[in-house]
């Protein structure tokens, strides 16, 4: 039982990592109906910037918001330069561009900082609390707490501010929004900026755990994609719940399917796809109406 609880707890802490990146994916999806495969690499790049700032003598708590602002600007810049010219192209063209972007950002990071893993300062201690024989580190608790805060911030922004409302309107009804005087294109840029900033938070939270190097997010993006889709892709709450579920499922699959630790991802993804077949709108998605 203790082993089971330990697996669940470490699964939750891993899941929080997936959730934090999944939140960024959900933001871009909400803004323009696109899964951004470069999200993980952008987060990694932002974390390297934070690393450089901290190494230059800046305190973590100043570098953190500075990096968020820089990432926000970077996200907007990418949208203006790379995405905007092809905004109306088929969605698959955009997907290919995000794939190209992922390769590019990864390569540039490798060029600038090399592939030797680095340790990234964490504000949370690596020590752990003892919950009756089950352990969880403060660092993991920190990731969970920050993911929760980001979720809350996104929820408030999307649901309770004019900006959020305009953002959603621009994504879902671009023509009508344009008629109402909304700068749809700038709203999309805003979506990219926000997602990039959220991704930066994710990167800075997980870098102490995953070790900072250009390929840090390469496997995480797979899990985050699964998490976002499981949660219903448009729902921030779904992304977080999806992330935690993916983390726990994969962890339990790795331990309890006999002699198949290396197939944990295969089993984990298999279970998720089974769920999706049975529940075709995801856990938190709305039933899609069919348009004729």
């Amino acid at each position: 039982m203790q082993e089971f609880l330990q697996l669940v707890v470490s699964g939750i802490s891993t899941g929080a990592i997936f959730a934090s990146l999944a939140l960024a994916l959900v933001l871009i999806y909400n803004a323009m109906g696109l899964v951004n495969f470069a999200q993980g690499e952008m987060a990694m790049f932002a974390t390297f910037i934070a690393y450089t700032l901290v190494n230059a003598g800046m305190s973590f708590w100043i570098a953190f918001p500075v990096t968020m602002v820089l990432a926000f600007g970077g996200g907007i810049l990418i949208q203006r330069v790379v995405i905007r010219p092809v905004e109306r192209a088929p969605v698959l063209t955009l997907v290919i561009i995000t794939l190209g972007l992922a390769t590019l950002v990864n390569g540039v990071a490798g060029f600038l900082w090399g592939y030797v893993p680095r340790s990234f300062a964490s504000p949370f201690s690596p020590d752990s609390v003892d919950l009756g024989g089950v352990f969880i580190s403060y660092r993991d608790l920190g990731v969970i707490a920050v993911s929760g805060l980001v979720l809350l911030a996104i929820y408030l922004l999307l649901q309770h501010t004019t900006v959020g409302l305009t953002l959603r309107a621009a994504a879902h009804h671009p023509e009508a929004s344009r008629l109402l005087g909304v700068h749809v294109s700038w709203m999309l840029a805003l979506g990219w900026g926000l997602a990039s900033a959220v991704g930066a938070v994710s990167g800075m939270m997980v870098a102490p755990i995953l070790l900072l190097e250009p390929n840090m997010m390469q496997t995480i993006i797979i899990y985050a994609f699964a998490a976002a889709v499981l949660g219903g892709i448009e729902s921030p709450l779904g992304a977080v719940v999806g992330g935690l579920l993916v983390g726990v499922t994969v962890n339990l699959a790795g331990a309890y399917i006999p002699n198949a630790g290396d197939l944990q991802l295969a089993f984990g993804l298999g279970i998720i796809i089974l769920v999706l077949i049975l529940k075709p709108n995801g856990l938190f998605g709305r039933a899609a109406t069919r348009r004729v």
């Binding site: 899964v35 790379v82 010219p85 092809v86 109306r88 192209a89 088929p90 698959l92 063209t93 997907v95 290919i96 561009i97 794939l99 190209g100 972007l101 992922a102 390769t103 590019l104 950002v105 990864n106 390569g107 540039v108 490798g110 060029f111 797979i222 994609f225 699964a226 889709v229 892709i233 290396d262 197939l263 991802l265 295969a266 993804l269 298999g270 998720i272 796809i273 999706l276 077949i277 075709p280 709108n281 995801g282 899609a288 069919r290 348009r291 004729v292």
Partner: protein
Amino acid sequence: MQRIRTAPPRYWLVLLVVIFFLGFPTVISSFLASEWAQALILAIAIMGLNILVGYSGQLSLGHGAFMAMGAYISAILAHRYKMDYLATVPIAAVVTGVVGFLFGIPSLRLSPLYLALATFALAVVTPSLIKRPADLTGGVQGILIVQPDPPQLASDVFGAVTGTAMTSDQWIYYITLACALILFWLAWNLARRRPGRAMRAIRDGEVAAAASGVNVAGFKTLAFGISAFYAGTAGSLFALSTGFISADTFPVSLSIQLLVGAVVGGLASIPGPLLGAIFAYFLPIGSNQWVPSQTWLPDQITSTVKNAGPAVSYGVILILIMMFAPNGMVGLIRSGYATLDRRLRGAPDPKTGQMPPDPQTV
């Protein structure tokens, strides 16, 4: 529509391309022929993906998994059961096609995004699944495939033209070319006949297609089956031309490469997959070799490109191509042709430059 139906297919262009591919290996080295064989193999797989994504509108991020399946079926039959390799190619194609068809059935219940995830998941776990039945697949040791010597007749003909004996790489090139020609011809027929029309109707609106009597579920799974059939053939040939397969031969990036090729070439077109394959095969190889080897460029540029590594050049070129040809190379050629046509006729510019992709203008 009327114009398209009456326009004759551009047979002369097709003929030129076929002659080019037939004659090409006689003037290039055996090594280059082996590279072009791989590009053609990629073209077959991308054509399969094109049928699924471009015509029937179902996304797959995991076609590399079907290629892996075709490759392993052939390799195991040839290696363990000592079958003639060429005889295993159709077996691999058909078995993979059936598996693809079966995979298509549960996929019917999945929305496009979930299908993307499911196929992506398949691609991600393929290497670890291959490693498991190690007795059968050779696990991480992989399987070596003996490349066949060219038959006497082919070698004699080739020797008469070029003056040098045919290598196995060149023989494999011609096998691949034959398969590619047949499969492209089949795809062209499929696209302009009933199944192709039905698939496009489904892609453009399932409800409307169903209302006009199209068997939506049937054609969607059929598209999956045909698509996997192509990927299986490509995988089988891939193993033959590489001479060795192992778990790491089929990484996620292979599936991504196929999708990149399909979109860059141009979806829902017949020449698109060929152009896309040439791009997707040669760009990663060339992106890091070409610039540093140019002597006319300043040293700083060449050394920076070299140090920055292939990922940077590849990413930049891919993004630029998609920005300038959002509908793929075929889309670019078509819109260029349309503009030229309008200029010559003096017709006014239409409000949008985008052309709906249509296969019948081949």
